[in-house]
Symmetry: C2
Subunit: 239 residues, 2 copies
C-alpha cells in the first residue's frame, strides 16, 4: 500500500475474517448433541443453513422493514426457522438459548491472535462487525482477541454494507475514512468500505467456504492489500 504509515485504525470484519464460524458451529453442535443425546446430524450443513438466513434477516432492517434489532435476536429467529429442517423442533427454550449463544463462542483462526497482537502495537483495532456488543465481547474473551474497541452495527445503528455503518465507525474513532483500513474476507464488505473512502485489505479464508462455494475465494476488486492471514497483514503493514 502506497502510504501505509498513514493508516491509524484497522476495522475488522469478524465472522469468517477473524473467527471460524463454520468450523466452530460444527464443533459446538457436535458437543451439544452429545450432551443432549441427539441423533447424528450434519452440523456443517446446520451451520450453513443458519448462516444462509443471515443476510436476508439483516436486509429487513437495512431496508427499513423493521427497526434495528441486535444480531442475537436475528440469530435466534433464524435458528427457530431451521430447527424443523434438522429434526430439532422439540428442543426447549433453554436449549435454543444455548444454541443461539454459539455465536458468542466462535474460535479465532490460528493466525488471528498473533497477527492482531502485532498489529495492535501501531494501530487501533476495532471490531466492525454486524455482531452485537455482548456477542463480540464474549467472543473476544473466549478467544483472546485483543480489540481496542467494539464498534459495529449496535454502536452505529446500521448493518454493513450500509455506508452509515462504515462512516459511523470512522466518526466514532474521530479518524478520516482514508486513515482507516477495512479488513475483510468478503468482497462486498470491502467494496462498500472503499466506496466510503476507506482503504481495504482482503484476507483469503478458503476454509470459511462450504464445499463447492466459490464466492470470495479470491479478491474481486482492486483492494489495497491482499493477504493470506492476519500475520501476513502485520508483516505488510510493517508491524
Amino acid at each position: 500500500m502506497a502510504a501505509a504509515p498513514e493508516v491509524e485504525a484497522l476495522l475488522f470484519d469478524v465472522f469468517g475474517t477473524v473467527v471460524d464460524w463454520r468450523g466452530s458451529i460444527e464443533r459446538l453442535g457436535r458437543d451439544f448433541a452429545g450432551r443432549q443425546g441427539l441423533p447424528a446430524l450434519d452440523w456443517a450443513a446446520f451451520a450453513d443453513a443458519w448462516r444462509a438466513r443471515y443476510q436476508p434477516a439483516m436486509a429487513a432492517v437495512r431496508e427499513g422493514r423493521r427497526p434495528f434489532v441486535r444480531l442475537d435476536i436475528l440469530h435466534r429467529e433464524n435458528l427457530e426457522a431451521i430447527l424443523p429442517d434438522f429434526g430439532l423442533d422439540r428442543l426447549d427454550g433453554a436449549a435454543r438459548a444455548e444454541l443461539t449463544l454459539f455465536w458468542h463462542r466462535l474460535d479465532p483462526w490460528p493466525d488471528s491472535v498473533p497477527g492482531m497482537t502485532r498489529l495492535k502495537r501501531r494501530h487501533i483495532l476495532a471490531a466492525q462487525s454486524n455482531g452485537n456488543i455482548a456477542l463480540i465481547v464474549d467472543m473476544a474473551r473466549h478467544g483472546g482477541l485483543p480489540w481496542d474497541v467494539v464498534l459495529g452495527a449496535e454502536v452505529v445503528g446500521h448493518y454493513k454494507p450500509e455506508p452509515a455503518a462504515y462512516l459511523g465507525a470512522c466518526a466514532a474513532l474521530d479518524r478520516a475514512p482514508g486513515r482507516c483500513l477495512m479488513v475483510a474476507a468478503h468482497n462486498d464488505d470491502l467494496a462498500a468500505a472503499a466506496a466510503c473512502g476507506l482503504r481495504t485489505a482482503f484476507v483469503r479464508r478458503p476454509a470459511e467456504k462450504a464445499p463447492g462455494e466459490t464466492a470470495d475465494l479470491a479478491p474481486s476488486g482492486d483492494w489495497d492489500l491482499v493477504v493470506d492471514s492476519l500475520e501476513k497483514l502485520a508483516e505488510r503493514l510493517g508491524c
Copy 2:
C-alpha cells in the same frame, strides 16, 4: 460483598477513578507552555476551571436543551470559555485543538493497570464514562488500560447520571444490572447506578481533589465495596 461471584461485568467511571485528570492536565499544560513559550501559569487551577464547566455543559444535554454531542465538543467549548481568564485568548486554532486533546492523554493512577489486569481475568471490564469513544480509545492506548469494551455516553446516547446511561450499558452487555458492578470515585455516580439496580464499589481518590475540596473524599452511601485502589478491588473480588 455477599455474592461477589455473581458479578460478571465491571463498569468503570474513568475520569478520576481510573486516570488522574487533574495531575495529567497540569503536567501536559506545563509541557505545552514550555513549547509555546507561554508565561508561567497555574495549570492546576486551569485544570480545575476547565473541569468545573464539565457538569453544567452536560446538563444542557441531559435536560434536553441541546441534542447529544460528544464530550470532545463540550471540552472544546469549555476551553474557549476559560482561555481569557488565564490570559490565553490569543492561542490559535491548532493550539486549542491540541489542548482539547489533553483529555485523550490522561495518565492512569499507578494501581489502575495492575488492578485492571487482575480484574480482567474473571470480569468484563467496560469503560462507562462520559468521555466519547475516540477519547477513551486514545487514552487506553496511551496508558495501557486493558478494556474489554468501551461503552459510556456515546454508545448509549446519554450522559451519566441519567438512568438510561447505566441501563443502556447493562443491556449492551446483555447482563442484568445486578450482575454489573459500577466502580467510581464519586458518590453521585454510584447513587445513580444503585438506583438502577447495579452493585457499587467506591474507590477513594483523595489525590483527585483540589486543595480544600471535601466532596467524595469519603463514601456517602451504603456501597457494596469501599476500596483505596483497583488492586484492592481485585483482592476483594478474589481476582
